[in-house]
Structures are given as structure tokens and as C-alpha cells.
């Protein structure tokens, strides 16, 4: 087997681990928050872990010209999150595992359940906008659509949530 070359605009870098660490570190909080929305508890950190390893392996293919690092990294988190969900299912009965140590009020529980009933795109938009706390332009880059589409998706998601939790603002 002989590795021949990479495609246009792609260069092989021997990018040292140190450079990668420095590069990825500013984005870890956002990656962790997004992972926390996709998988609960300790699975969250495994997901971040898997995403980092994958990002490191694919780092040579990251192309600055195509966008900022954060959308690239969060897309990997989303991707790994889906793999994790397909691969593993919780074996133990978890009583109140909601992805964080937050004290859930009954209204929160209703809201979380309603979030789970959104379409995947709506759910992703809400997770990234409210929970990961990203701006619309970054979300648009992650979701591969126009900022206006993100706004529309968020608006549809809120309308659906109002419907699901009964209209009042709890």
C-alpha cells in the first residue's frame, strides 16, 4: 500500500500534537456543551474524547478556506454523537440523568421532553443556539445552510415547543 497524495488544496502535515492541543483548546467548552446535549453524564466526555481523536486524525484535512475551526469541530461532535447513539445503549437504569447536574423543575422536565419531540434539525438548532450559546452565523456554517434558514428553524422549533408544553411560559 502506498499513500499517493491528497486531493486539491489538501496538504499532509506532520502537525505536532502540541499545535493541535493549542488549536483545539479554545473550542473545548463549546464541544463539551454540545456533547452534553447529545449524550448524558459520563458518555458526554467519551464523546468529546472520540471527537478529539477523530479531529486529530483528520486535522490535516481541515481547510481554513472552507470555514472556521469551531463549525468543523462541532460537526465532528455531532457525527460522533450519532455513532455513539447507534453503538451503545445505557444498560443501567438511570433515574434522573439529563445530561448535567442541573436541578430540574417539573417545567424543565416538560421542556426537555418537548425538545426531544422536535425534528433533528430543529433540535440541533436549539441545542446550538440556546445551550451551546452560538451565534446564528456559526450555526449556519455547522448546519450547511443560510443564516435565515437557521432563524426560521429556530422560530419553527419555538412554535412547536409552545404547542408541546401547552402554550403558557411555565
Amino acid at each position: 500500500m502506498e499513500a499517493v497524495l491528497l486531493g486539491e488544496g489538501v496538504t499532509v502535515t506532520d502537525g505536532s500534537a502540541r499545535d493541535f492541543t493549542d488549536w483545539v483548546e479554545p473550542h473545548l467548552p463549546a464541544m463539551t456543551r454540545f456533547a452534553g446535549r447529545l449524550l448524558p453524564g459520563p458518555d458526554r466526555d467519551d464523546l468529546v474524547q472520540d471527537a478529539l481523536v477523530r479531529a486529530w486524525r483528520r486535522w490535516a484535512t481541515y481547510d481554513e478556506g472552507r470555514g472556521a475551526p469551531l463549525p468543523w469541530l462541532l460537526a465532528i461532535v455531532a457525527d460522533q454523537g450519532r455513532r455513539g447513539r447507534l453503538r451503545s445503549r445505557p444498560a443501567a437504569l438511570a433515574w434522573s440523568e439529563h445530561g448535567g447536574a442541573v436541578e430540574l423543575t417539573p417545567a424543565d422536565v416538560d421542556l426537555e421532553r418537548a425538545l426531544g419531540a422536535l425534528t433533528r434539525r430543529q433540535r440541533t438548532a436549539v441545542d446550538l443556539y440556546y445551550f451551546v450559546d452560538l451565534d446564528v452565523a456559526t450555526i449556519a456554517a455547522i448546519m450547511g445552510c443560510a443564516p435565515g434558514t437557521v432563524k426560521a428553524t429556530l422560530s419553527q422549533a419555538r412554535a412547536r415547543l409552545r404547542e408541546l408544553v401547552g402554550g403558557d411560559d411555565g
Binding site: 502540541r18 484535512t61 440523568e97
Partner: protein, 509 residues
Amino acid sequence: MAEPEDPMDARLRQYAGRWRDAAAPPPAVDADGLRPGRRSASSWWVAAVSAAAVAAVIVGGTQLVGNDRDGRPSDPAGTGQPTETAKPGDDVVPWAALPATHPQLPTETTPPSPDPAEAAGKPPCRASDLRAATSGGAAAGTHSVNVRLALVGSSPCRLEGYPDLVLLDRGRPVDIPLRRDGAGAYPGPVLVAAGHPGVLRLSWSSDWCSAPVRNDSIRMALPGGSLTFRGFGGSSCYGTPGSGSRAPVDVTPFQPLTWRDAAVRSPYADLQVGADLDLAVAAAAPLEFTITLTSPTDLVLDPCPDYRIVQNAEDGEHQEAYALNCAAVPHKDDQGRPYLPAGTPVRFAMRTTVAGQGPSMEKLGWTLDTADQKGVAGTLTVSAGPAQTGPTTAAPLGPGDRRTVRSAVTAIQAYLDTWRRDGMFLAARQYVEKDAQPPSAVGLPRLSSGKVLHADLSSWESADHFTLEVALDLHIVGDPLAWNDGENDRFVTVTRDGGGFRLAFATSP
């Protein structure tokens, strides 16, 4: 961006703010010991990255060592390994390819806690004995409803097996199948007493695509009546539109709120297993490491246990099982049997072959094959090995041929760019010619970006006809996930056609 008067916007901001504040910090700044008995995610990552740095340094060296197929280690000293990876010597039990014997080792079993026997004499719980409360949530497309059944009175009662449930919408049963899920469940009847509720979990992946389904409540039949509690709400679709697939609701049996599983202990339960398995290696090279076993008490190796070496390479899990080389352990008891003296580390040489093709990072595990499954794990950083079989080994390509291959890869990238620019569609996992595109875009994914990540030569007939194995990164409009989980390897047969190339895509050679 949201209208300020939208109450749902305010509610989401308020809840998300609390959620962010309460979330644990990112793993990379987390302390060790995130999970007892496991290396924390952060330390694992640091280890993996430093191993990677090592790989980058020794690549030149591995090629030299890689040509030496005589079984010498590919990882020379100087890679920062601690003394545990010393070469077999007087103080290391040598490795031997002894077939696994699957010995019967003595074990002792402790019952689960709480002991199901406590519930055995109690009467079955009646509907009037219990109060139901629910909590739930949704993550990654799976909804869950957790039901907590607390005792109302003072007489303890018993729940056993699976609940008798009906899912309702405005009082009428809805057609969602139920599926029993006993994986990892508490094995026995559950005692419900003051402060000791019974619980169960219902989960649903909402994979219903023929029509939306609503489930506002769930009724559980019990002796003497029933309890009704909140259901899943509305469904949404994650499946293939039009498939009509109906995902069942998974139901666990009744469980105690907290419990500990029955434990089986072997004489090896307190054994300490040590090794540094974070190694940098070359693909298909010999792999050697040293395992250190330390027992707190004198431990006779009779019968001699088996062990397993597991590598998780890109193409799956590779497992090998052997018997430990007990006969070569230098310590013998007064009956002449090999044993591990109390508190004395005994080192065992291990040998296998790197399973991965590299470059990649893979998990390497070593486990003693006893009831306690004592073991260690680490990360192999695999660099691409020496050339193996195939035409490229026999005759490396000349500079002209390499240029041809390079142009072919550029042509594949250009094809993807055209495909994206022209708004062509992706149907199934086939590449569709422009004039064979479906007439309507409705419901079909469109390419938002496509990129050649790397290309390997798969077969070579001549510069006019060869096959490349190409890894593609494909993204679809509106989907944050890479197409097909990012795994898009294709075999592209390239045939020279006038001044250009004809490209034929396939999923296998």
C-alpha cells in the same frame, strides 16, 4: 434574533443558562479519576496525543525496522516508555504461544444488594399501595419516561417482572408496540417499602414515519386497579419517510432505585495488573510489551489462567487468547507450584502483531480471563507500515505515473466540485450522472461540500487504467452530520479517455 415578546425564547434562555452553569467542566481541564476504576477521558486524551507526537518523531526509524521481519520489536528504546517495557531478561517471564486452556477457576458469589430474597415473602403491590411519579427527557432522538413507584401506606409489597402497560391518547389505546428490555436488569422481585421505591424506564426512539403519533398517558394495570401517568407526548420522525416503520417502546422490568449486581470473585479479584500500553508502532509490525502482575497475598497459579490481547483496529476487533506462561514463573511454593508472592511484582513478556494498517490510533487491551476480568488498556499509535503486497511493492511508480495518479485525484475532486455547483443530487449511496438525475429534488439530499481526503492506489495495470481507493468527505445541505458517518471510501477505476479520465465509482474493488 428572536422577537423579545416570545415567551418560549425567554424560557429556553433561562433554562439553558442554568443548564450551562450546572454542567461539569470540559474533560480536558477535569482532574483524574473521572470514573473510578477507569482512566479519565482527559488523561486518556493526553496520553493519546503524546503517543502521536512520538509517532511523528520515529516514522523514519520505523521504516527501517519495518523491513526487518524477524520479530524484533519495532519500538526501540528512547520513546519515553518506562522501565516496564524492558526487554525480556532474567526477571521477566518469557512469552510463549501457549493455547488457551479455559480452566475452571474457583469462584465465590455475593448476591445482589438489595437481596431479592427480602421481597420474596411480601404480597404483590396493589394499585392502591403505590403512587406514580415520572421524570424523563430526550437525548439524541431517544425519549425516555422514568416511572418511580413509591409506597403510599406502611406495608411493604413486591413488584416483579415486567409491567402491564397500555399507551393511551385521550383515553384511547394507541398502536405503538411494546418491547421488553431486560438487559442489565435487577434479577428478581423488587421490595417496595418506605424510602425504597420501585422504578422502571420506558424509552422510545420515535422512529414512526407513517403518521404522527401522540401518547398523552400510560396506564399500568396492577392487582386491584391501575395507575395512570404521563406518556411520551408527540412523536417525530427519524426514520426513512414512507417506510412506515414503527419503533417499539422499550420497557424494563421493575427495578429497585439503586442496586448492586451480584459479584463473582475469583482468587484473582485483588490482583493488580500494570503495563504501559500507550505505544507507537508500525502497521503489521511485531508488538511486544510487558505485563506486571502483583498480588497482595500469595497467589498460586494453579490452575493457570488464560489471558486475552484485544486490538480495536479500523476493521474491527482482533482478539487472541493464550494461557499464561505459568510454568516459567520463577517462584514456586513448597508443592512446586508456580505462584505470585505477596506484594512482589512479577513481569510477563507479551507478544503479538499490530493489527491495524495505520496511520491510526487504536485501543490495545490486555485482560486476564477470569471472572474479575482484570486488565489494562492503552492506545496504539500506528504509523503506516512498510509496503505489503500488490504491484506497488514490486514496482514503485515512476515520477510520470505518480503525476498521472495525481491528475486523476484532481479529476475526482473536480467531479465533486461540479456535482456540488450544479446542484446535483445524491441518491442512495450511488453517484448519479448529471443526465440521470431524478426530475424532482423533493426529499433528496443535495451535496453541500465534497472533498477527497486521501487516495491510495488499489491496483495498477498501467497509466491508462488503474484503481484508486479514495476516502471522501461528503456533506449534505441542511445536515450537520457528514454523509454516512463520514465513512465514504470508494474504489474509483480510472481509465484514460483522450486528454481526460473516465471515472467509475464502486464500493468494493
